[in-house]
Amino acid sequence: MKRSVVLHHANLCTLAAVGVLTLAGCGEDPKPAPPPPPPSIEIKIGHVAPLTGGIAHLGKDNENGARMALEEANAANIKIDGKDARFVMLAEDDQADPKVGTTVAQKLIDAKVAGVVGHLNSGTTIPASSVYNGANIPMISGSATNPQLTEQGFKGVFRVMGRDDQQGPAIASYLAANSKPKLVAIIDDATAYGEGLANEVEKYFKGANIRVLPREKGDDKRSDWKAVLTKIKGRNPDAVFYGGMDATGGPLLKQARELNIKAVFSFGDGGCSDKMIELAGTAAEGMLCSQAGLPPAAASKKFLDAYKARFKVDPILYSPFTYDAMQALIAAMKGANSADPAKYLPVMQKLEFNGATGHIAFDEKGDRKDAEMSIFQVKEGKLEPIAIIKNGQTVSFADFMAQANPAPAAAPAAADATQAAQPAKAAPAPDAAKK
């Protein structure tokens, strides 16, 4: 018994070793090999998101975004410490399960990753963050919005997505200013994300002396919302906010219109996707929703096109954010001229650049500094940006574009890309990619 156990694990080690080697050797699509002569270093970066289970499609989207940034960095032939840097992504599945999340985090640490992009859900990101912190490996999430994540006091924890308490007030203030509701109904999907966002929205309305109905809840697998909606219909609110994802929000909106509810419907970023419109059908017309960051149309049309060309599908939700997260990590390494977390972490904290989701910089907690929030409305079956909110100021999208012309991302970024190391304004990869 004893011997077999030991042997078993010995095999396991070799298997694991083989696994990592093979992965490193041919993890990418066959591409012309880089010219061999100059010395090169391989830098591993982890990416974690659920790739199985109910939100697996979002997880794959996240992974694609990060992968694209990584491939572009490889194509740009970045040099680190005088050597050709070759970035390799180790993509892991955390099944949206907190306990798998920590195991996978440890696996990445064992594989000696230099940094991690992920995870997707706050529920897995928070426990994983303490594992990364223990190993002094920086992590940057593209989609975890729970304020607790950056309130733990960990040095190496960042996010490019706005927190619930940044996004909630944005959509609520827009709704309050433009629809002037007297009575609002708020529904959430009883998840950390949905409830967290709904709480912030409710807080804003109450502060603005707008009456809010008692909270209604469903869950993240609910497709039948008729009972809750019927109850709300009886109270006749002027506006409804739903904190949750598109997969549940689409049916919710569709059923609301079937019940002849006339209120304005609004959603957070989880419901701000093309999938939402597809699922709700004609009922989506006129709905409002918010996204953290700038609309891709304003920040980087290039991202959308490149994503579509690379993966043959449209980005779903958070891929621009994981794209920016990966860019931020690589830019920090480039700026510090090192993939050693101890060296590039200080650079990361001071990093500033224009990514696919707008201007990116971090505050001392690792949250995104003065993140812009965008408000969208569905017009003729399409999500159209209608307003940008920054520091509590609302600007209509047309005015914003007029002020910011030429497009904020393109010009300065291209100029920066030629300069190798510049901690304060490290260059983003996308524009460098074509060189």
Binding site: M1, H9, L12, P127, S130
Partner: protein, 344 residues
């Protein structure tokens, strides 16, 4: 015996050589062994099908999290909380057991399933109006276990060996496991154990023999639940963060699969089942991708999907070829033999 003990003591250091991941995976595997042994008391010994077992695990975890985290600002030591968690979980076990005593078989299964969901929904919703569990956002920054000055969150060197956090937890879990196995072995052949078996085989006959079936069934629920309570407390301490999504129905099903796949009623079989179902998915995580690269030169199917497919097929195949489990208990073996001799 001594060799086994030595091997188990040396194991984490060997594993840490391959990567601390494996120590963590082993720790989770031991937690699942604790859970499976607890469920085995209810399902294997007493024959009561419980589909909501994870609720007790949740209760234990939340007791620990609430009494050792900044959430309420309470930081009690673990040696107070873990027994308390076991006690509270046992109370919940009795609470579940009491109204369901009359139910049999699948009716009992559905009630336990409902109970498990009810507990989870309450945990998910007790964040308001009064914030008790912090709702779906979960409880973060749960204290690591510390014994005097020895904190389980740090790495310490001792006798030239690095004791990292996961390795310390391994030894604590191993000690608990040994204790639990010992209790189980004693229970199985005790008066109570035989009473459970009698109830499982024929309740009416058992009652006729003077067994207080009500008490004996409640005892099974409470004992089983208390193991889960301790395991839950350890889970909270190791993870440092818990939220209701860790205690969903699928987890109950997973633990039940471990018990049945390994061999219901046989302690060693159950341990085998828990080990296999904990390690195989992790092993697949490491092997599927390289193998596919090797055979096809590229990724045809996402490794996660293959992992789940293999897991599904494994459950079906093991059950068709060894319906009593991989390592069935002696009683089951006899039953199976008797049935195959008597073709119906």
């Amino acid at each position: 015996m001594v060799l086994v003990a030595l091997a188990l003591l040396a194991l984490p250091f060997a594993l840490a050589g391959a990567g601390t991941t494996w120590v963590r995976v082993t720790n989770l595997a031991i937690l699942f062994i604790l859970l499976s042994l607890g469920l085995n008391i209810v399902v294997g010994f007493a024959g009561l099908l419980d589909l909501g077992y994870i609720a007790f695990y949740a209760v234990g975890a939340y007791v620990y999290a609430l009494l050792a985290s900044p959430h309420f600002g309470i930081h009690w030591p673990f040696w107070v909380i873990l027994p308390l968690g076991a006690l509270v979980a046992a109370l919940f076990g009795a609470l579940l057991g009491a109204p369901t005593l009359k139910l049999r078989g699948d009716y009992l299964a559905i009630v336990t399933l409902g109970f498990g969901e009810i507990v989870r929904i309450f945990l998910n919703n007790l964040g308001s109006p009064v914030n008790i569990t912090n709702g779906p956002r979960g409880i973060a920054r749960i204290d690591a276990i510390r014994i005097g000055e020895l904190s389980f969150a740090r790495t310490d060197s001792f006798l030239g060996l690095d004791f990292s956090g996961p390795i310390k937890y391994y030894f604590l879990l191993l000690a608990m496991l040994v204790a639990v196995i010992f209790i189980n072995l004693r229970l199985q052949n005790s008066r109570i154990g035989r009473a459970w078996e009698a109830v499982r085989e024929d309740e009416i006959a058992a009652r006729a023999m003077g067994i207080d079936t009500t008490r004996i069934k409640l005892l099974a629920f409470a004992m089983g639940a208390s193991f889960a309570g301790v395991a839950g407390g350890m889970f909270a301490a190791i993870q440092g963060f818990i939220s209701p999504e860790s205690f969903v129905l699928v987890e109950s099903v997973m633990v039940l699969s471990m018990v049945v796949l390994g061999g219901m009623g046989n302690i060693w079989g159950v341990i085998l089942g828990a080990l296999l179902l904990s390690f195989v998915p992790e092993l697949l995580r490491y092997t599927v991708q390289p193998l596919q690269q090797y055979f096809f030169g590229r990724m045809l199917i996402d490794p996660e999907v293959i992992r789940m497919l293999i897991f599904g097929f494994a459950l079906v195949l093991v059950m068709s070829f060894r319906p009593g489990g991989l390592w069935p208990s002696a009683v089951r073996k006899r039953e199976l033999a008797a049935r195959s001799e008597d073709p119906a």
